[in-house]
Symmetry: C2
DNA sequence: TGGTTGTTTCAGAATGTTTTGAAACCAACG
DNA sequence: CGTTGGTTTCAAAACATTCTGAAACAACCA
């Protein structure tokens, strides 16, 4: 066995380990294990793969592969490609970790924070205004309003933050992060 | 019916809605729905409650309440209190949204990012070094190393960021957030 | 000590999520 | 058209998580 073959085996082993540990994080990112694994695979191998290759490598069913891949495409962290003379669809992972991260945050803000914000506004509007009643009751209502507002302000700040640094143009986040961590002591 | 009673009912309704929508976010924060609801309840009512009150209000079993409360205490976002002349334990939520957020991030970094980082370091060390073999193979190994390193760097940056702004002393995060969002245009 | 009150544990039940595999679908090509 | 190569869908099965309720435990008090 040549050095190449030997290395290749270790490489594949390392890739598999990467895939597995990435899969464990799945829950944390709000995606299913398979989704995470598929993404990890595409990221760490760094080359486009088609559905069958992914199925084989991860030992999953066609249906599962299809679903997971589609979801990843929806999230915007992998993209479709094609190979000349091959009718199959190929998929490749965004190779820029920061832009990957931006996609994830963007998507989660959209799916989780935005709806929550909307609901909280509704609740605030439907909450009784502290305009009458006994002093004690008024005090309660005011405190209630204050707590709602604090939460709203917090979430809005987060949203603005994310829009600014995560979403559209660029590397704002990375720069900022490095800047901020750089401010040592 | 007096204005107070009327208001009180609406207030309770608003609280329930808050609890419910907070509960929906549960998955997102990596905690169970009940945990989220219990926390929401304590936060929005703003007063210490004991296990029985929480059970009754959320319509959950004693076991579930006990588990969820304990977990919240472990996360550091609610704390035990006592009432004079009452043997029951009471619990109250951190009323500062930012410090709450810091606790959550701290805990999740500890539980999710730190172990992942450790594993990735291991994987990197076990990956074959590109010291011999054909050029093409070397190229592959180098690319693999590069991808691992990028991910490691990213996660380490995140960790440093979180340690700096989230963890120990203070309001670093809030300040930073306001600062950053303030930098408009 | 025995009784009373309050808390934790845990096996099994209920519920929710993910995966499979086969069938339906779709587009291109001869 | 009808066949081929490929992708998507979806009901049922496997799996995982969460919840219940009753029993065990612990602390306090008379």
């Amino acid at each position: 066995m040549g050095a190449d073959a030997e290395h290749m085996q270790k490489l594949i082993e390392a890739q598999d380990r990467f895939v597995a540990s990435w899969g464990q994080m799945a829950g944390a990112w709000g995606i299913s294990r398979t989704m995470a694994e598929a993404h990890a695979l595409l990221y760490i191998t760094g080359r486009p793969m088609n559905t069958d290759e992914i199925m084989d490598r991860l030992q999953i069913s066609r249906g599962n592969a299809s679903m997971s891949i589609r979801a990843l495409v929806d999230w915007g962290i992998i993209s479709r490609t094609h190979k000349r003379g091959d009718r199959k669809e190929y998929f490749e992972a965004d190779q820029d970790v920061w832009s990957m991260f931006r996609s994830i945050v963007r998507e989660r803000m959209k799916r989780e924070v935005e709806p929550l914000l909307a609901t909280l506004f509704e609740i605030r509007d439907a909450s009784p205004a502290p305009d009458e009643g006994s002093d004690a009751a008024q005090e309660d209502l005011l405190a209630h309003q204050r707590r709602l507002d604090e939460m709203l302000t917090f979430l809005q700040t987060m949203e603005r933050l994310s829009h600014r640094f995560i979403s559209p143009s660029g590397s704002g986040l990375e720069l900022a992060a490095q800047l901020l961590t750089g401010l040592d002591r």
